[in-house]
């Protein structure tokens, strides 16, 4: 019998890695490698082996990380950084085996600066754990994705994450002040605004910080980040409104988002399909009249003296634009449970209504407010066709979330949730799935949107369209990639960046 998952890296390299990270920081056992492969995005279980790394390393410091990357660069071995492995694109899934660099042991809080209002951490800490420590000091780090209890700072940077309360506090890109990055050659640099570690705005040199935000591990590994601290909000106000139809809810969403209140943390629009899904399959759904077909949720965070009058005005706007307040139980309960509710991952429905175990796929286009109704109709129609044809997909409805930091009125993170019965996947069904994604993407681009507001666009079905979306900017990406990573060792194969090495220099 042939060996299962052989280690495709020479023994002397493994020994060298052990010299860097210690014996307990280097793992070649199959469970260690197999369990650092998938992310929650749809996954070809039958092709799992193609994505298993050769070796897992668990460095404890910037120095160890730099030594690992330097070695990989010398030996031309792929390196894939991985934090929590909870991303919804495949950034942390190896395409070419190699070294899986797990940053979870770099989970220390190094410095809490209550004077200049920053906290400096390793990439392997989750926001939940970080805020447990920060809260007694009267401050928080307000990066609040749906994956708040499980995702980690390193992955948030790697994907360029989006926060549920970003309208008030900004998203990951706005909340990371500076960071230490190990480049693909093993060199270590500090990037921020200018050279200061704790400066929010500087004009010295190029603005490199955003270059290292959302690169899906293709440009390096962040090993330390200095983050924003904000005053712990005195009040977290949430309100849910119900509407008889999508059109009214859409208008109401716009009115709320344009209200101009600085404490407005976010507005979320649920469409009819989402309501139908919640009615059908979410046991935590609080029963509402059948006439209710769409919902808008909003939240306002901040000091009591600001939030109280803002909340009063937002309630008035919600009602005046056709919303029925759904009551405190729904408003407070559903908002409080927002992190647990972001996936109801257990099950979906086959077309005959049968309950089946399904994984969850979430499209996350960025789109302007003006095009939301049309995109919604076209997306649902696409999913309905594939659902009928393959019988392993389910339409779990759509959300639209305010997307702009501090300026939530102009564009939205638009999500269609699709259930996939992965156990039934074969190559043909997978191809069907990818084609479905492609059609969704084409609609996004037709309406002037971007493929991804927060997950990243490096997956099959998205990535083919990145050059189309970015145009000449994609050529700049390739030039940067080749310059920083001359041997294509950092997460190779992602974002079509192999093209950077195929063309004449």
């Amino acid at each position: 019998m042939t060996e299962v998952l052989p280690v495709g890296i020479a023994d002397h390299v493994i020994d060298e890695l052990r010299g860097i990270c210690g014996d307990d920081g280097v793992r070649v056992d199959r469970p260690a490698r197999v369990n650092r492969t998938r992310v929650p995005a749809p996954f070809r279980v039958h092709r799992w082996a193609e994505h298993v790394p050769d070796v897992v390393v668990l460095p404890r410091s910037t120095e160890q990380t730099a030594d690992v990357v330097r070695l990989a660069n010398r030996e031309r071995i792929p390196v894939v950084p991985r934090a929590a492995g909870t991303g919804l694109t495949d950034g942390a899934t190896p395409l070419r085996h190699g070294i899986l660099l797990d940053v979870k042991r770099m989970n220390q809080i190094r410095d809490i600066d209550l004077v200049d209002r920053t906290v400096t951490v390793g990439p392997g800490i989750s926001m939940l754990k970080l805020n447990e420590v920060l809260r007694p000091h009267g401050v928080i780090y307000p990066d609040d994705p749906a994956s708040y209890p499980c995702s980690m700072v390193g992955g948030r940077i790697g994907t360029g994450g989006w926060s549920l309360i970003g309208a008030r506090y900004g998203h990951t890109r706005d909340l990371v002040i500076s960071m230490t990055v190990v480049l693909p050659t093993g060199d270590v640099v500090q990037v921020g605004d200018g050279g200061g570690r704790k400066l929010r705005k500087a004009s010295t040199g190029f603005s490199l910080k955003q270059l290292f935000m959302g690169h899906e591990g293709t440009l390096g590994v962040v090993t330390e980040a200095t983050l924003e601290l904000v005053p712990r909000p005195e009040v977290e106000f949430a309100a849910f409104f119900g509407y008889p139809d999508y059109a009214t809810a859409y208008e109401s969403t716009g009115a709320l988002a344009k209200s101009g209140f600085a404490t407005l943390a976010g507005v979320v629009l649920f469409d009819e399909w989402k309501l139908a899904y919640l009615r059908r399959d979410d046991e935590a759904y609080v029963e509402q009249p059948e006439s209710l077909r769409a919902v808008v949720a909003l939240a306002a965070y901040g000091n009591r003296d600001e939030v109280t009058p803002a909340a009063r005005a937002l309630m008035r706007i919600g009602r005046e634009t056709g919303g029925d307040y759904l009551g405190d139980e729904v408003s407070q309960g559903d908002w409080a449970a927002r992190h647990d509710r972001y996936a109801i991952p257990l099950h979906g429905r086959a077309p005959d209504g049968q309950v089946v175990p399904m994984s969850w796929h979430c499209e996350d286009a960025a789109l302007n407010y003006s095009v939301l109704p049309q995109v919604r109709e076209e997306w649902h129609a696409i999913v309905a066709r594939y659902r009928e044809r393959y019988g392993i997909f389910d339409d779990w409805g759509m959300f639209a979330y305010t997307n702009g930091a501090y300026k939530p009125w102009g564009d939205y993170l638009v999500e269609i949730d699709v259930g996939i019965w992965e156990q039934q996947l074969d190559d043909e069904a997978w191809e069907g799935w990818v084609n479905c994604k492609r059609e969704i993407t084409e609609v996004t681009l037709k309406y002037g949107g971007s493929i991804s507001a927060c997950h990243g666009a490096s997956r099959e079905g998205d990535v083919e369209y990145v050059p189309t979306e970015l145009g000449g900017a994609f050529d700049v990406m390739k030039q940067i990639k080749r310059t920083l990573d001359p041997n294509n060792v950092m997460n190779p194969g992602k974002y079509l960046l192999d093209q950077a090495y195929e063309e004449a220099p």
């Binding site: 369990n35 998938r38 909870t86 979870k104 499980c150 046991e283 991952p345």
Partner: protein
């Protein structure tokens, strides 16, 4: 799968859909409440990995030999199950609960059945089989001395209600059963002891030795039946879980024994005025929710009710949901195979207590008290059992550990201080 024995094949078929429910989700909320992950940061030890391995076994990517050792890294505290979005959000509707603890037990049993044994556990179970009680560390254990802890208390044998005294309590922290006996007597609860108490079998089961565990269970049930026992009072959460989960599985509908945990009974005695707590206990204390009570069996109110009834005690509570991530690290055999991790987990628990500026950590799980005491010594926090506090508050006196039976050689500094 090829080259797989039929038992493994059956195991995979039995668990594949359940494991898949976790695997397809992959959100890993469990990781942040898992006490073992909290100290190792090693994904191999995550509840998600425990499920994913089943899917990987089905795919032929890993074998039982590959994964068996990873399943040592679990205290079977149940935190992952309570925190799982599948349990939280779909549980009632579909009667679903993510069963990580059962999966870990099943995988360990499969390993033992296939001759893959962990040396520490093998020694532990062999010795338990030899002496019929667990080889409580640092204390000589002999079956004929299983009730020596009760010396001088003049307790009857048999009766409708019996007190089951956990091995750690019977041979090491004898102050606990002595306190419980006095409390029950003061509260007017008639009870006796077993004719011949054997280990509850829970630890053997947790380590994968199912046949051995069943043999212990059969003996104990027969002993109860012979003595006309209708009700068993458990003073240790591990026994309580064995009696209310494992025994139900073994004996099905024939199992007609009422099992009550001591805190539930004592809270009732206090509530009904049958037990008066009048002596002040001058301490600033917080309560450690034992995992098997809080996360496995939903018992978290009665211990708090008791603590609030103790005069003089300043009780600084941490709610039971926050405590999902708390653990002593003593359970599930971890302390036998990885005492280093148990110590680290206990250390984290005591750090949390220290942050509350308390002088006492109260537990209701005797197995937790040794590692917690060790960690408490370094931090100036005394670890006490809830029943010992109750006995003190009821003016019944508290014996030093080791009274009655064996001396508590090798006990913690906290134990010695109490002595």
């Amino acid at each position: 799968m090829t080259d797989v024995d039929p038992a493994t094949q059956t195991f995979v078929e039995q668990w594949r859909d359940h494991a898949y429910s976790c695997f397809s989700s992959g959100h890993k909320f469990c990781r942040n409440v898992c006490p073992v992950m909290g100290v190792t940061q090693d994904e191999n030890h995550s509840p998600t990995a425990f499920h994913a391995n089943v899917v990987a076994m089905e795919q032929g990517l890993v074998s039982l030999e590959d994964v068996a050792r990873d399943y040592v890294h679990c205290t079977q505290c149940g935190a992952c199950e309570t925190r799982c979005p599948n349990t939280l959000m779909a549980g009632d509707f579909y009667r679903h609960r993510t069963r990580t603890v059962d999966l870990v037990k099943a995988m360990r049993a499969l390993a033992v059945d296939n001759g893959i044994e962990q040396p520490g556990w093998k020694r532990w179970v062999d010795e338990t089989v030899r002496v019929r009680s667990e080889p409580v560390l640092d204390v000589p254990v002999e079956q004929e001395r299983v009730a020596d802890w009760a010396d001088g208390l003049d307790l009857p044998i048999g009766g409708e209600t019996i007190l089951f005294v956990d091995c750690e309590a019977a041979f090491h922290r004898t102050s606990l059963p002595r306190a419980v006996a006095r409390i029950l007597r003061a509260g007017g609860v008639a009870f006796g002891l077993m004719r011949e108490q054997w280990c509850c079998g829970g630890p053997s089961r947790e380590m994968g030795y199912v046949d051995t565990a069943r043999e212990f269970a059969r003996h104990n049930l027969a002993d109860w039946r012979d003595g006309g026992v209708r009700r068993v009072i458990a003073l240790d959460p591990h026994d309580y879980v064995a009696f209310t989960e494992d025994y139900v599985e073994y004996f099905g509908d024939d199992y007609d024994i009422e099992v009550v945990f001591i805190t539930e009974l004592v809270a009732e005695l206090i509530r009904d005025g049958r037990l008066q707590l009048t002596n002040p206990v001058e301490a600033v204390a917080t309560y450690h929710d034992p995992c098997r009570l809080n996360k496995r069996r939903g018992i978290f109110e009665s211990p708090r009710e008791i603590l609030r009834a103790i005069p003089g005690l300043e009780f600084r509570d941490v709610d039971h949901v926050t405590q999902w991530s708390y653990c002593s690290g003593a359970g599930g055999g971890l302390a036998v195979e990885r005492p280093d991790l148990t110590a680290a987990i206990s250390g984290q628990r005591l750090d949390r207590a220290a942050a509350l500026e308390v002088d006492t950590l109260v537990s209701a799980c005797v197995w937790s008290e040794r590692p917690l005491s060790r960690a408490g010594t370094d931090r100036g926090i005394e670890v006490r059992d809830l029943m010992e506090l109750v006995a003190e508050a009821a003016g019944l006196g508290v014996d030093p550990p080791g009274t009655g039976g064996q001396p508590a050689a090798g006990g913690s500094a906290a134990d010695r201080r109490m002595a």
